[in-house]
Amino acid sequence: MIKDSVAGTLESNDVLVEISNNDSGRIINLESPVKDMFEEDILKVVNNVLDEFNIENITINLKDQGALDYAIAARVRTALKRGLK
């Protein structure tokens, strides 16, 4: 069971990640100025981290401000670790 948690910021080059528990698989909601071009890449980064944590049921809301892959992965990992504490 994952607790609601948050990581990241709304500053440029960052992403705000909010996670909450659900029973309906992975629901990933993305807001991003580069969504049209990079949605697939961003979701891949998020799913890779979720795979690493073996998490199948979760809702993740991402408010992206142009974060690179490493920053997205870091913020998702932080949110998950906080949620799993």
Partner: protein
């Protein structure tokens, strides 16, 4: 132990992606990714994760990587070390370093290639510097933190820095005697470049090998002062040329332009040329 070439070391908050990913482009010889004072207590975990991912994502280049961790008496010391020791970095900077914390850090990182920079920021730190620097072979150098030192001494910090003169000279002397590099305290007024120049020239004159910066705009001033001047380079070349000739002729001490030249001056000239080469101002 070979000294790293660090004229300037720029502090960067470790939880800011925009700054972390561009830090290596700002011209400093080293970056200090800060997990301590620049990071609020609630964001320590987030900053560690960001650095972890950043160092996997960005390959290491010629800029020296330093991570400042929280002190031993904080709840974050071991959490920091457990993650940071896996990073592709050159140094861990230990806040509020003393003999006990240096040994504790050494025990955790002795199987890595990471070396230690001690942050000296108290009266006892300055007084016990020789013991702190000698507490582990992993200690390569130190940074003087004059703001906390002044707080500990209950003295007013001024731009002229007369109040830290003895501490600075004592630190530079101890580091030189133990063959450790010494980074001077940052100049905290990021708008006053005239005083930054004066302060940096003082640090160089005392024997510091470099200086910390807290703003990217300070870097070029600090680099310029810690780079050998053309006059120093020209003289060093003359000395080395004359020394080589004297050696061929079997002469130990010789005179150059009316002044006696002996081993310390020759050694210093080699160092000037070596630093000029590392700074990219000469090729050979």
């Amino acid at each position: 132990m070979e000294m790293p070439f660090i004229r300037s070391a720029l502090f960067i908050p470790a939880n800011n992606p925009g700054m972390v990913q561009t830090a290596h482009l700002l011209g400093s010889d080293a970056i200090i990714f800060d997990l301590e004072d620049a990071i609020s207590l609630s964001q320590k975990d987030s900053a560690r994760e960001l650095l972890n991912e950043a160092f996997k994502f960005f390959k290491k280049d010629s800029v020296v990587r330093i991570v400042r961790i929280n002190p031993l008496d904080s709840p974050y010391f071991y959490d920091d070390i457990n993650m940071v020791k896996e990073f592709d970095i050159d140094f861990i900077m230990l806040a509020k370093a003393d003999v006990e914390s240096v040994i504790a850090l050494e025990n955790e990182i002795k199987d890595t290639n990471i070396k230690i920079i001690t942050l000296i920021e108290s009266a006892s730190g300055v007084l016990n510097l020789k013991d702190i620097l000698s507490a582990s072979d992993l200690v390569s150098g130190m940074l003087f933190g004059a703001e906390d030192y002044s707080l500990d001494m209950q003295i007013e910090r001024t731009k002229q820095s007369d109040e830290i003169l003895m501490a600075r000279q004592s630190i530079a002397l101890t580091c030189k005697a133990l063959n450790k590099f010494s980074l001077d305290t940052p100049f905290t007024d990021v708008e006053d470049f005239e005083m930054l120049n004066i302060d940096t020239k003082k640090a160089k004159a005392y024997g510091f090998t470099g200086k910390a910066c807290i703003n990217p705009r300070q870097v070029r001033y600090v680099n310029a002062i810690f780079t050998p001047t053309q006059k120093e380079i020209d003289y060093a070349r003359e000395v080395v040329y004359a020394a080589n000739k004297a050696k061929e002729d079997g002469i130990g001490v010789f005179s150059l332009n009316g002044k006696m030249v002996d081993a310390p001056i020759i050694n210093r000239s080699h160092l000037v040329l070596e630093n000029a080469k590392k700074a990219g101002v000469i090729n050979e």
